[in-house]
Amino acid sequence: MDTKVERETTDTEYDVIVLGTGITECILSGLLSVDGKKVLHIDKQDHYGGESASVTLSQLYEKFKQNPISKEDREAKFGRDRDWSVDLIPKFLMANGELTNILIHTDVTRYVDFKQVSGSYVFKQGKIYKVPANEMEAISSPLMGIFEKRRMKKFLEWISSYKEDESSTHQGLDLDKNTMDEVYYKFGLGNSTKEFIGHSMALWTNDDYLNEPARPSFERIVLYCQSVARYGKSPYLYPLYGLGELPQGFARLSAIYGGTYMLDNPIEKVLYTEQGKFKGVETKLGTFNAPLVIADPTYFPEKCKSTGQRVIRAICILNHPVPGTSNADSLQIIIPQSQVSRKNDIYIAVMSDAHHVCSKNHYLAIISTIIETDKPHIELEPAFKLLGPIEEKFMGIAELFEPKEDGSKDNIYLSKSYDSSSHFETMTDDVKDIYFRVTGHPLVLKSRKDSQND
């Protein structure tokens, strides 16, 4: 608003410097700006999103292929480049999940449009089945036999009527003492139903949860059911134009509240105080100081360690819907580990031009799983088989990193790599955890005031 501001001067002192514009960093940047902190947000790359960006087809070829096809060939086959917005990390939003809450409470929903994902499917004995989204679908689903359906119904009734402070609703189970397997046993659920609940509803990627206390599983199932109940067809939402809209939306929030943005500005040097605490960064645009920094692992590789997990992701372009999905414009397929003799589930996320992420009559299917062998591309075979003919395939492997320390010693607060889960719940856990460590108080989501017109 102030027309007297000298445009050449740039402040050098900030409350927080944020490095990387992945969704984790952008949410934190937005939240801290709204809190009144003076934020400088820098990315070494020339676009928003970091590891969680959505990219065009030409960028995808550049990133994954050594010999990109010519522009003419590419356009003849796939249409205009600008129609493509391909997620590097496939995920969906749980309709009732924490990211949805954050979006609503920050009003970032004003900048991003969402659509429902049409369905969730699960692989069983060579075929895919729609995960029932309501009772009617559950009754007619071929996934369970008639008796198993009754037991399942009893289990779900227990979930929905459970009240923490009314022990009569617990049916003798203790969520913190009983394991999930014990809960299944109590309701007499068979293996295939366990698999269905654990992998298609609780969205666990492996079976480790069976022998752990039931509470996290319980909470995941509640989240799943509430998310399905919210809009109907599936528990998932997806933003038009791709997941890359999310970091952009939160960056805009941060900017509106005074955050300064510098893309394409690599960090030349990190400055430390004599005590070894973070002091600032040197860049081609100048030296900027702040008492603390938030960054993704790529800015401080020496301060991160591998989680031991590596994820393989395969982005596939199709010119037809996925077979057996009633031509759904978007869906998730879960291939439970036990079905294909693995330890970790394989996920497929499918989107189409209905979500403005590819040109007309094309579909994007992104397959991901945690690598278990030294031939990871072969591990994805069961998924490729489900997709039918594939026009083009881009494969990449990512090692997952996490910070070695919590940041209290050097004031360097690092986020984790985006994991292989199919939703954003672990990402928002990371956001809340970093927010707490940085500010000293837990994140409380409040509505923004309606009258802040500067």
């Binding site: 676009h47 805009r252 900017a255 893309l263 923004r448 309606d450």
Partner: protein, 211 residues
């Protein structure tokens, strides 16, 4: 009454300190219509303009400073139907920047975007300051690039409303299109977008659906 409301996303572009936000504030806070809507956030203002028996509702996006270090997000241009490219008539550098933004809009924004080139701060010419960007030069650019062209003063309000009226008048075709989209949306209810905040019964966003 058969009047309809067309929502138009309008984006502001121009060098820092040319008066982008002031133009919008002048436009929005003037008693131009009685339907002034309060908005959320500093950089998302709305204002309605009546043109004939139709109402155009401008959703005005400020850059929020993200243009300063060339860090505007693609989201900013997405589905923008109109743009104000603002320069300062006393600063030639800002006019060079305006050319750059026009080019950027042609590359990034939707094909049919209506662009208004706006030379601001003409009030200072009366107080003796020298004009550094000739009217002819700006007119030439406007003609070449098919832009609307105005010289304004956000300070006195001169010509500010006229800019938005002129844009509004070039919009009307959108109305028919929007209605078609709405029918389309009703027919294929599955295809409707979700209003995440609608638990409080907010209006479902039916505009701007370009499926």
């Amino acid at each position: 009454m058969n009047s309809s409301i067309t929502s138009v996303k309008l984006v502001l572009l121009g060098e820092a300190a040319v008066g982008k936000s002031s133009i919008v504030l002048r436009f929005v806070s003037n008693d131009f219509t009685e339907n002034k809507e309060p908005t959320i956030g500093a950089a998302f203002l709305t204002q309605r303009v009546n043109i004939g028996d139709e109402t155009v509702k401008f959703e005005i996006w400020d850059t929020a400073g993200q243009e300063r270090f060339a860090s505007l997000a693609p989201m900013y241009y997405r589905n923008a139907q109109a743009a104000l490219v603002v320069y300062d008539v006393t600063k030639p550098q800002s006019f060079i920047k305006a050319r750059h933004w026009v080019k950027e809009l042609h590359e990034q924004a939707s094909k049919g975007i209506i662009i208004a080139l706006v030379g601001n701060k003409i009030d200072v010419l009366e107080s003796g300051e020298e004009r550094k960007v000739a009217r002819e030069e700006a007119e030439k650019l406007a003609e070449e690039e098919n832009l609307l062209y105005f010289e304004t003063s956000a300070k006195t309000g001169e010509n500010v409303n006229e800019v938005f009226l002129a844009i509004g008048e070039k919009i009307p075709l959108k109305k028919a299109e929007d209605q078609a989209n709405q029918q389309h949306g009703l027919r294929i209810t599955d295809d409707q977008r979700i209003d995440l905040a609608s638990s409080t019964n907010g209006p479902v966003k039916a505009s701007g659906c370009n499926c």
